[in-house]
């Protein structure tokens, strides 16, 4: 029994250390997903937590000023002004009309200060100018019969 005691003790130490590493200070690693309209209802909490806000990049709103990139995030007709001052280069997919996620903190000035941006292309067919709008994908019914 004694040798199993040793194994048990070692396992407890290892697992315990990992749980401690995983939980200690986890607050600082958490980012809360919020919509732009939820931001307004958060009250003071909005300024203390790290937040992730999603939306579309407003057309023509991207402006580069020194090391800061300013743009407007639009979600359900609500706008949020975002200043990006992170060190990572902006993703290639980040441009007008793209869906973007901004990680950062809400400033008291009403501007969202992001230090990380993720972006995803908007649906390609809609974005393409001059494409035939009536063209829509359908199943090829003949073969599925």
């Amino acid at each position: 029994m004694k040798k199993y005691g040793k194994f048990a003790a070692l396992i407890v130490i290892i697992v315990g250390t990992l749980i401690w590493l995983a939980t200690a200070g986890i607050q600082n690693n958490q980012t809360y997903y919020k919509t732009i309209s939820e931001l307004g209802q958060l009250g003071d909490q909005a300024y203390t937590k790290r937040l992730r806000v999603g939306g579309d990049v407003g057309a023509g709103s991207i402006v580069r000023k020194g090391n800061i990139v300013e743009f407007m995030l639009v979600q359900e007709k609500r706008n949020l002004k975002v200043f990006y001052d992170g060190t990572d280069p902006l993703p290639d997919t980040f441009r007008d009309g793209a869906q973007a996620l901004a990680d950062g903190r809400m400033g008291r000035d009403g501007i969202f200060h992001a230090n990380k941006i993720q972006a995803k292309c908007a649906s390609k067919y809609e974005a393409k100018p001059g494409g035939k709008p009536a063209v829509a994908p359908v199943y090829n019914n003949k073969a599925s019969l």
């Binding site: 290892i14 690693n29 063209v135």
Partner: protein, 668 residues
């Protein structure tokens, strides 16, 4: 053509269902003809899926823009190679690739085992065909690659397509997804054998022996896939990293971790008859993590750079995994009696125990990564708030775990089975231990105070020396005995036990990769807006902006900046980072410029123009090349381990008795 393609997949689906029913009924009713016909059905599925895939690929290559998939993922100006790789550029195509790989694997398995394992092969076929049927459901009914563009009821075409995502138009990216998929899909095979062996209550470890090479090859593909993905991120994404704990990266890492644990713990079963339940659990976990990986990548359930597809396929995956997991768990619990361990753990400092802790830590890391990846989903379910964890959280957990595993890499192989004497501990570990302490002392004196970096370098040297000593001692003996030179003796030594020495080489590869990872503790970077003639300093380098150029070709517009690089006054050359805008998708990409050296990479990214000034991001990444070198060593080591040993090692207790005879009648 599109009708033939869709019909082929539909037929393949029906035949896969037949293979499941046929092989199980054939086995239960002892009807060898049904079993054989089910096996032939597997070949049929393989042929039909190949036909379907061929039609899609030819549509991509010829630019048949009536196909939705072709219009979305390809365009006329793309080079032919990327037209081909557009096969896995989107959701529908990549799921078809999954199906195609699985059907090919299944056909190979059936062919190579046509005279072996007759009593459980029907179940192997049934499991593989079930998985196949699931993916064919997706291919046929949910995300068909054979959807056509239509105006009202008439099929139509667009003049040109959107083109493959430009980020994917890169050589490493062309082979990264199939590599990863070869790995994902491959684990279906050992899983199927494990289930087959469990259902029929096989004595012995037949399934492990039969699938050892499969598992290793699959693991190799997965390792290559992960490293290629990292290399792609480093060279193409332009954010200067190779790993960011992105959900999809994690998805590829999860089955790799579980698979690595499995590769180690099967040795316990082969040599000691221990951990039988555990191995079944591990191989099942690995398989379901592969499915989960595909699910995470393809369903967009968690936000990610890769998750390009939001969609309906999520619920199918969840249902499939729920049913599959429930069935597997039931089976394992029901068959527990057959999985009794034949030996017991004896001492904490022993080979068995090092395997145990290797498994514990690998699984813990796997669980941690899974937890962190799914945290947004879980937190939303349980607290109503969607919360994500950042990469700092992953690093805080995974760096200590990785270092502990690195240490085990050095210790484990040198512990004796059962128990290790303190005499042998001293003999094996004294010099490596002293050497690493000296190294850590020297690094401290040189002004390196990063705690983890010091530990990591110390462990790396420790493990490297233990591995060298193993080769050295063994080869010296052989050289003396058979009067051959030392280099020849090293080859002879490796050839005598490829598994062991190949394994050491894999460990060496891991050590080199850790050296590369540790370099990240010393990264430097800066961002500057530079006019022609401006000069900045980063580390020992002086960077001077020279000029910008621009131009275009059929596929994209480009603009580049030339930056002259010198170090301590000595001119080293001109780097030209480039920004491209692809015409079809109107998407920009950044082609970074690198000066690659073994000690450090200088990495420049041209982030665009701000007025008349070029925005240049410059980075120094110390030691990063060692990651790629380590990966090559790892691949080489795995290949060595796959070579059959010169001396066939016999383990008395691993005989599989009487399987082939009992049902030999099935063949004829």
């Amino acid at each position: 053509m599109e009708n033939i393609g869709a019909l082929a997949l539909l037929l393949a689906f029906c035949i896969a269902i037949y293979a499941v029913v046929g092989s199980v009924t054939g086995k239960l009713k002892r009807n060898p003809f049904l079993v054989i016909s089910a096996e032939r059905a597997v070949y049929g599925v393989s042929f039909l899926v190949t036909l379907g895939a061929g039609i899609l690929v030819s549509a991509l290559l010829t630019g048949d823009f009536r196909f939705v998939y072709v219009a979305e993922e390809s365009n006329r100006a793309m080079p032919a190679i990327y037209k081909f790789t557009a096969w896995w550029g989107g959701q529908a195509g990549s799921l078809l690739l999954w199906s195609w790989l699985l059907s090919t694997y299944a056909a190979v398995v059936v062919f190579t085992n046509r005279r072996k394992h007759r009593d459980f092969m029907p179940y192997v076929v049934a499991v593989l065909a079930t998985v196949q049927a699931f993916f064919l459901i997706l291919n046929c009914f949910v995300v068909s690659p054979f959807k056509m563009l239509a105006l009202e009821k008439a099929i139509t075409a667009v003049p040109d397509g959107n083109g493959l995502n430009p980020l994917l138009q890169y050589p490493a990216m062309a082979i990264h997804p199939p590599m990863l998929y070869l790995g994902y899909v491959g684990f279906a095979v050992p899983f199927a054998f494990a289930v087959g062996s469990l259902i029929t209550r096989q004595p012995g470890d037949g399934w492990i022996h039969t699938t050892r090479r499969w598992t290793m090859v699959t693991w190799l593909f997965q390792s290559c896939g992960i490293v290629l993905g990292a290399a792609w991120a480093y060279h193409v994404l332009g954010w200067g990293g190779y790993w960011a704990w992105d959900p999809v990266e994690n998805a590829s890492l999860l089955p790799w971790l579980a698979g690595t644990a499995f590769l180690h713990s099967v040795m316990m079963q082969e040599k000691k008859g221990m951990m039988k339940v555990w191995n079944i659990v591990l191989v099942s976990a690995t398989f379901f993590l592969c499915i989960l990986g595909t699910f995470l990548t393809r369903s967009g359930i968690v936000n990610s750079v890769h998750a390009f597809a939001q969609g309906s396929i999520g619920k199918y995956f969840v249902a499939f995994m729920a049913v599959g997991l429930a069935a597997t768990i039931y089976l394992i619990i029901d068959r527990l009696d057959y999985l009794k361990s034949e030996a017991q753990l004896e001492a904490v400092i022993s080979r068995e125990s090092s395997f145990l802790f290797n498994n514990l830590v690998l699984l813990a890391s796997c669980f941690a990564v899974l937890w962190g990846t799914l945290f947004p989903v879980l937190s939303e379910k349980f607290s109503g708030e969607k919360i994500s964890l950042d990469s700092a959280w992953f690093n805080r957990l995974m760096i200590p775990i990785g270092l502990f595993l690195l240490l085990l890499t050095g210790l484990g192989p040198l512990f004796a089975w059962r128990r290790t004497s303190s005499e042998s501990l001293r003999r094996n570990f004294m010099w490596p231990g002293i050497a690493s302490l000296v190294l850590v002392g020297a690094l401290l004196a040189a002004g390196i105070h990063n705690f983890y970096a010091l530990i990591s370098f110390g462990f790396c040297l420790f493990v490297a020396i233990t591995i060298f000593l193993e080769f050295f001692k063994g080869a010296k003996q052989i050289a003396q005995k058979s009067q051959i030179n030392f280099a020849h003796a090293v080859i002879e030594l490796t050839y005598r036990n490829t598994r062991r020495y190949g394994g050491y080489l894999v460990h060496m590869g891991i050590v080199l990769m850790f050296i590369g990872f540790t370099g990240a503790a010393f990264n430097q970077s800066r961002v500057d807006e530079m006019k022609a003639g401006d000069s900045v300093t980063l580390g020992a380098y002086q960077l001077t902006a020279k000029a910008t150029h621009e131009g275009e070709n059929a596929n994209y517009l480009w603009q580049s900046a030339s930056v002259a690089v010198s170090k301590n006054g000595e001119f080293l050359g001109v780097l030209e980072p480039e920004e491209r805008v692809y015409k079809a998708s109107r998407q920009p990409t950044h082609e970074v410029a690198l000066r690659i050296r073994l000690n450090e990479d200088l990495y420049l990214n041209f982030a665009g123009m701000n007025g008349d000034r070029a925005v240049i991001q410059s980075y120094i990444f110390p030691l990063v090349s060692w990651i790629w070198i380590g990966a090559l060593v790892l691949i080489f080591g795995t290949l060595v381990a796959l070579v059959p040993s010169k001396v066939k090692r016999e383990y008395a207790r691993t005989q599989v008795v009487g399987i082939t005879k009992k049902h030999a009648t099935v063949e004829k």
